[in-house]
Amino acid sequence: MSLTRQIRERVVRALPPERLLPDQQPAYVHSYVYLLGILTLVSFVLLVLSGTVLAAFGPQWWHGSATGRFFNSIHFWSVQVFFFCMVLHLWAQFFMGAWRDGRAMTWVTGAVTFVAAIGTAFTGYLSQQNFDSQWIAVQGKDAMNAVGLGGFFNLLNFGQMYGFHVFILPWLVALLVVVHVLQVRLRGVVKPYPPEERTPSPAGRRTAPKA
């Protein structure tokens, strides 16, 4: 029994190439609302790339040189675009009831990604090394201390926050994004709700739609 062959066959069975990169989708997918997911993904890639450049040159560079400042600005606006698209994507998926028909885990991984992304952005704001990061640190410390986390997760410790921001949390978000996207590809997007079936009530008022 070859474990390698078993794993390969299982992966190929679950995610054959035509499902990973489909060239056909339901006609209703031709809508701007389905672009929000890919826009979120693309802005995340831009975040990682601009963040990698910032990490490579260090804090003095992004504060002290025009080029560093520009890359810092790219990183700053990427996070704004990332969250703008991600929040719209999340709301859209909520209003579409995207967890239906066996897609609960796709929703769960997406929501957990959102929470992990907030943590990543928060540690990023703490790593800016300007007045805003000082202020967020001293304000946020009270909340962390109030629930007993401040001793371990010390917002005033730049080294620890920077480590979380540039390594631990981005890897977590990237892993969750991969799992989320694979789940979308594995199951496909959810179908629209069936048209409402309404029946007149004795009083002439219409009953609630069937879910």
């Binding site: 826009l39 802005s43 579409m96 090394q129 001293v138 005033l156």
Partner: protein, 315 residues
């Protein structure tokens, strides 16, 4: 258990879809948008507040903060875990305090760490200061009286530029200690001393930030509209967007009981933990998982699909 897409979409009208082209177009759009925003608006970068600046620009505030650290009346001196065994900022959820349960993990003795130890460093080169320090440490029973007298003297202090003159009083060596600490603050030496410990390399700003976290930082934050009552952490300096995604977290701090309770932070955490769990578990929560059906916004999102279906049925 979900069906495979091939089975799930049986009977659904399919159309050609170029996923890679879509990703490339999306990449182009995002890159252009971000580059334009970065080039036109740059990014916020208000310089950090330093102890040197506080001591130089607001020497009286510096002395009040330092005296609070020395006499134990300051916020951090009586804060509680994880810094010390005080009770001033200990929060509870019902009868339970997770803060107390975790104990002191980052020990801070404000009198020793923020005042006495830095002055001992300076006293190596200043005999008068060394004598004042020795007199202070040799008379623990008089320290409170001296500190109280000096606090009173500070209310009548005269400020001339960077210098603070206090009227003569019975505050023993405290005046000498405070004057020297102010000099140390104004020279920038205190910034360095609080950052440095036994290591050469430093990345932990806990002590210098705790020194200025009270009035000095609040004054600066009020001027830049960053106070908790001004939606604090989700704002950014200048006119830049901040962490707008923290709006719900910040919202709770604006309303009672969160805004008025001494346990407000713990309650906000508890509330947000419950709401976050609800968000993650939406598919499994009866009622909530059917809410989109009742809200009906899906009709707007899939309006073309429903229109096509109506047309098909009417033919």
């Amino acid at each position: 258990m979900s069906l495979r897409p091939e089975e799930y979409y049986r009977g659904v009208r399919m159309a050609p879809y170029d996923l890679v082209k879509e990703a490339l177009v999306a990449s182009g759009a995002v890159i252009v948008a971000v580059l334009v925003l970065a080039a036109v608006f740059s990014s916020p970068d208000v310089p950090p507040l330093t102890i040197r600046r506080v001591a130089g620009e607001t020497p009286l505030v510096f002395l009040q903060v330092a005296l609070g650290d020395l006499d134990g009346g300051g916020d951090i001196a009586s804060y509680g875990p994880p810094y010390n065994h005080g009770t001033g900022s200990v929060q509870y959820i019902g009868p339970v305090s997770l803060q107390k349960a975790m104990g002191v993990q980052t020990p801070i003795d404000t009198a020793r760490d923020f005042v006495i130890d830095p002055l001992h460093e300076l006293a190596r080169y200043d005999d008068r200061l060394a004598r004042a320090l020795a007199a202070f440490e040799a008379a623990p029973h008089l320290q409170q009286d001296w500190e109280k007298a000096y606090r009173g003297a500070l209310t009548k202090a005269l400020i001339r530029g960077h210098a603070v003159s206090v009227p003569a009083g019975d505050y023993g060596p405290v005046g000498t200690l405070m004057a020297n600490l102010l000099s140390m603050g104004q020279s920038g030496a205190l910034d360095g001393f609080l950052l440095t410990s036994s290591h050469f390399y430093q990345t932990d700003y806990t002590r210098p930030l705790l020194f200025i976290q009270g009035d000095p930082m609040h004054s600066e934050a009020a001027a830049t509209h960053l106070l908790g009552t001004q939606w604090g952490m989700m704002n950014e300096t200048g006119s830049y967007p901040g962490q707008a995604w923290l709006w719900l977290y910040t919202f709770w701090y604006q309303i009672p009981p969160y805004s008025t309770s001494p346990n407000g932070d713990a309650y906000v955490w508890l509330t947000m933990a419950a709401l976050t769990l609800m968000l993650i578990l939406v598919p499994f929560i009866p009622g909530l998982n059917r809410l989109p059906r009742y809200l009906g916004l899906y009709k707007l999102i899939w309006r073309d699909h429903y229109y096509d279906q109506r047309m098909m049925h009417s033919q």
